[in-house]
Amino acid sequence: MAPVAAKPKLALYWAASCGGCEVAVLDTNEKILDIAAHFDIVLWPVATDHKYAGVKALDDGEIDVCLFNGAIRNSEQREMAEVLRKKSKVLVAFGSCACFGGIPGLANLFAREAILERVFDTTPSTQNPEKTRPQTRWAAPEGELELPTFYNAVYRLDDIVPVDYYLPGCAPPPSLVLKAVTAIISGQLPPPGSVLAPEKALCASCPRTKEEKKIKGFNRVHLVAADPKKCFLEQGIICCGPATRDGCEARCIAANMPCRGCFGPAPEVIDQGAKLLGAIATLVDSNDPAEIRRALAGVADPAGTFYRFGVPSSLLRVARCAAPGAPGKEAMAK
């Protein structure tokens, strides 16, 4: 029987996320067994049956590493973020949602009410004549139940608690996951606050041919057959590569899909979307206001395009309508 005590403790948690990050861990294939062998897993809701109570019972800092994926969208996720921060020596924001807010972060463009109305009333598949809404308290025969509060906005993990490392990606590629885990195991970690991914933008490892760029108009990827050899931007297809950190092994590019920006901004860039917007707009090859407007009309949904994974990381963070009683609420809450 191997000595159990020696094993470092590992926790994995999912907050507002799709579960893809969990799969990314499993995608390490047989290596997962090494992980399992090296670590004593104390929490992994998707795979193991541990209770919050058990985690709360641990001493502070007793967990060696916590891989936390998903954004913070409700009070439960916030509570667990705080608990796991307290209990963990090393807290890793795992995946784009935890790092930047991710896809769930797009909700910051709409008012809470608008979202609930859409989800609980107006989707074609919904039958809800009483317009029932989720309640935070519910008196069941067995006694009163409490449900988490659904916040007005989506937050990054480090909005709530200090984070030691960032492992971006939607989802993080197994290679990076392993690299990170290995680093942790071997104790060879970069300075806290680091992003566990390369320092350049994606274009550096993009195999496509790149020429000087001028854009007359924009194409959307589902409307044209993109030339798999040529830079997307030169084909008028918006690609986030120039503004996005490398490390994904250009998986989308290889599948002839433009980069959508899941790895977040390049080092020292504050606002990925702003950088990209500036670069793309400047490439429009015209000095005539009307022509410029026409060309840029081809950019459908700027916020969704330039901040697909980063609305909660942008300098604007959240649409004004999200704040209760904000001006222009009606306008935004379509």
Partner: protein, 174 residues
């Protein structure tokens, strides 16, 4: 409570060195009086003004942003001002998606000899933003959403350098 009367908008102005900044100097030399609400930041060319700087101004609590360069065709660097024009087109739409009236971001052309025009532009802009009312700091807006955030919220991006343990690097936050 700020009313349209008592509300004094805060507007960050990006002025190109060759035309508008000189024009603003001329307005001063000519002793033309205009509202003090526009806080000038000098750049060599309006072409240097990128969205990140504009959004940063809003993040810091600007109620409006005024970009002003040379007249089309007169740019000291040939056509930097057109580049700004292109970015502004798209930026307008982005701002509106975030519920920020595009009138809060204004792009004008003022030449080195148009001191009076500068005074007029500033006055108009201040009045326009005054009518729109306060926008306030992004961080306060986010704060007010659920009231669960630390007051000095770091700005933007992936927070390298924002970590308590790491020595201050990213200029975004504090």
């Amino acid at each position: 409570m700020t009313t349209p009367e008592t509300f004094e908008p805060k507007i960050v102005g990006f002025l190109c060195n060759w035309c508008t900044y000189a024009g603003a100097d001329l307005a001063g030399v000519s002793r033309l009086k205009y509202p003090p609400n526009v806080l000038p930041v000098r750049v060599m060319c309006s072409g240097r003004v990128e969205p990140e700087l504009v959004l940063k101004a809003f993040w810091e609590g600007a109620d409006g942003v005024l970009i002003s360069g040379c007249h089309p065709g007169d740019c000291h660097y040939i056509e930097g001002n057109y580049k700004t024009l292109r970015r502004k087109e798209l930026l307008d739409r982005l701002l509106e998606q975030f519920g920020i009236e595009k009138e809060r971001l204004r792009l004008t052309w003022v030449s080195a000899s148009e001191g009076d025009l500068w005074a007029r532009v500033v006055t108009e802009t201040v009045e326009a933003v005054r009518r729109l009312g306060p926008l306030g700091r992004t961080r306060d807006r986010l704060q007010s959403c659920d009231g669960i955030l630390a007051a000095d919220l770091p700005a933007g991006g992936c927070c390298h350098g924002e970590h308590p343990a790491a020595e201050g690097g990213g200029t975004g936050g504090r």
